[in-house]
């Protein structure tokens, strides 16, 4: 069935949420492109433009660390480094167990509670190393129960 072109970004969001690894497999991209009446290359152009989408496998949890000026002044770079050390991955990489991916983003719109990060759809503010330990632990437990 043909879908309206204007709904394609929503379709990408849905596809990404449905996948366990926060990504849109290429077969799915093809399918969505066809459904919305555009070519695969145009769909790829869309996906590379909007930063929230990925066509490569990511972790079950995508951690987006905010590094806007407001967050940087509140030491977001330390938060980023702490996470990288803790999870033993670089920015843009995924942990071996496939649980976490770290990304650096430009503003989460929560500058009053800087430094901030977002894990999938949830925001965490006023971060400290202790807080991060707890949050990561929570997510590991959640994943085990899944």
């Amino acid at each position: 069935m043909e879908e309206k072109r204007e709904n394609i970004i929503l379709a990408f969001h849905k596809a990404q949420e449905e996948s366990k690894n926060n990504y849109i497999p290429i077969e799915k991209v093809k399918e969505i492109a066809k459904k919305h009446g555009i070519s695969l290359s145009e769909a790829s152009g869309l996906l590379s433009f909007y930063t929230m989408f990925s066509t490569e496998k990511r972790g079950k949890y995508v951690i987006r660390v905010c590094d806007s000026l407001s967050c940087r002044l509140m030491h977001s770079i330390d938060i980023l480094l702490y996470l990288q050390n803790k999870l033993n991955i670089e920015e843009g990489e995924t942990t071996r167990d496939g649980l976490f991916t770290i990304e650096r983003v430009n503003c989460l719109g929560r500058c009053f509670s800087a430094p901030n990060m977002m894990i999938n759809d949830k925001i965490y503010g006023n971060l400290t190393p202790e807080k991060i330990d707890k949050i990561i632990e929570q997510h590991i437990k959640e994943a085990e129960n899944d």
């Binding site: 309206k4 072109r5 204007e6 709904n7 394609i8 970004i9 929503l10 990408f12 969001h13 919305h36 152009g45 869309l46 433009f49 909007y50 930063t51 929230m52 989408f53 987006r64 590094d67 806007s68 000026l69 407001s70 940087r72 002044l73 509140m74 770079i77 983003v105 430009n106 503003c107 989460l108 719109g109 929560r110 500058c111 009053f112 509670s113 800087a114 977002m118 759809d121 925001i123």
Partner: protein, 436 residues
């Protein structure tokens, strides 16, 4: 401080909004003719709160008569340091929705869109719920409040992009395209969504529309400065003890806003209007250039009444070479490292450039490359000159405000903190300025 907009906080439930006389503006609106409503907004003197400060009534009046027409609420709040729209979406969604319905009526639009940035999933849910509630109360949908006026609102979710905040890019994104801006004209009011006339208004602007229709244009025009009337939300963040959204009348002195939020430590610099805003320093006592940068007195001591007393409204900011932008105020104390500020700012531009036009695509990357080199101790002294020249070229040749405005923060940092950056380049370490 004023409390006209913020008094509607915690009204995400429609009943609590109606208890505060919410939707009275809409009731008044549908008793008037669309032309009268536009006149009311025009008389109020309301100027757009998204950044450009264009008079809202004039924008509405300029809408082409072709039908169908669309109205869009720009809730793609991506400007670093800005979080006022998020607050309104989350805590006063009906104030925004009422404004959008009023705008739909005044412009005889067929449909409204609220485009919310992808990073605000919770806010998207709240707005959707509020829209459903409004429909139940016959405030939205077919024959609103039993009149002949019908109007519907659809929520659109973004996918993560800063440049989509530009109205032409936003229009492209709603249609499911890459959010590339286009060169105006044509303005969206002539050719917007599906080449039909479209109005794009910011979240806070539409909230003000609700207020004006509730209280009347005379009331609104008496608040704030003559040039830019009404209340304004200022977002204070960075090195302050009480970061947050503060409401003041337009034209409030910067000092009042900063003092309310309380600087944490010794004030060093302030950035106003978002990433593209200039950076004002407190370092020197003299003006560093003709009109561009205002010195705010030596650190920690605010000299007399004057230095911090430039006023935060569109005209006053323009006079000193800046821009009020979205109302973001990022405060930096003496621990702020300007090389860091430079790197953050230019990384932002390099990542968010959409790549459509060459000067911005290439320029932002070059600038970030050099800033990164400086920050990692591989900088060269001539970088400062090259970077300024690059930014000047970009200001002249870029397609949209993103590339054009890189010069603003860059110049602010280089002119006010030249010594600090140079000593960092030479000694590859940050030397904390010693107070004498």
């Amino acid at each position: 401080m004023t409390n006209y907009i913020l008094r509607f906080l915690d009204t995400s439930d429609i009943k609590s909004y109606i208890d505060k006389d919410g939707y009275e503006g809409l009731r008044r609106t549908i008793k008037m003719s669309p032309k009268e409503v536009i006149q009311e907004i025009k008389s109020s003197g309301l100027r757009g709160r998204g950044g450009a400060g264009f008079p809202t009534g004039i924008k509405w009046e300029s809408l082409s008569n072709e039908k169908p027409a669309y109205i869009v609420c720009n809730a793609d709040e991506g400007e670093p340091g800005t979080f006022k729209d998020r607050l309104l979406l989350e805590s006063a969604p009906h104030l925004v929705i009422e404004g959008l319905i009023i705008a739909g009526y005044a412009n005889q639009a067929e449909k409204g869109y609220i485009y919310i940035r992808g990073e605000y999933p919770e806010e998207t849910k709240i707005i959707q719920k509020a829209i459903d509630e409004a429909k139940k109360y016959k405030l939205l949908g077919k024959n609103i409040l039993d009149s002949s006026f019908s109007f519907d609102i659809e929520v659109k979710r973004g996918g993560g992009s800063y440049v989509v905040g530009d109205e032409t890019a936003l229009v492209n994104s709603i249609m499911g395209k890459r959010g590339n801006p286009w060169h105006k004209p044509p303005y969206p009011t002539q050719q917007g969504l599906w080449s039909k006339p479209t109005i794009v208004n910011n979240v806070e602007t539409l909230s003000c529309v609700s207020l004006i229709m509730q209280e009347g244009w005379e009331w609104f025009s008496k608040i704030g400065s003559f040039d830019s009337p009404g209340p304004k939300l200022y977002c204070v963040s960075g090195n302050v003890k009480k970061p947050g959204v503060y409401e003041f009348p337009m034209g409030v002195p910067l000092r009042d806003v900063i003092n309310t939020a309380e600087v944490d430590g010794v004030l060093k610099a302030v950035q106003i209007g978002g990433t593209a805003g200039p950076i004002y320093s407190t370092k020197s006592l003299t003006l560093t250039s003709t009109t561009d940068f205002w010195s705010l007195g030596t650190p920690g001591i605010v000299y007399g009444a004057k230095p911090l007393d430039f006023n935060l409204d569109f005209a006053s900011m323009k006079k000193i070479g800046g821009s009020l932008g979205s109302g973001a105020i990022v405060v930096m104390n003496n621990d702020a490292i300007m090389v860091d500020v430079l790197e953050v700012t230019l990384r932002f531009f390099a990542e968010e450039s959409c790549g459509k036009c060459f000067p911005c695509r290439y320029g932002t990357r070059q600038l970030y490359h050099m800033a990164k080199n400086i920050a990692t101790g591989q900088g060269k002294e001539e970088y400062m000159d090259i970077m300024q020249k690059t930014a000047v070229s970009m200001a002249k040749a870029s397609l949209c405000p993103l590339g054009q405005s890189v010069i603003m923060p860059l110049k602010g940092i280089f002119e006010n903190f030249k010594g600090e950056i140079l000593s960092f380049i030479r000694h590859q370490k940050y030397i904390k300025r010693v107070e004498i």
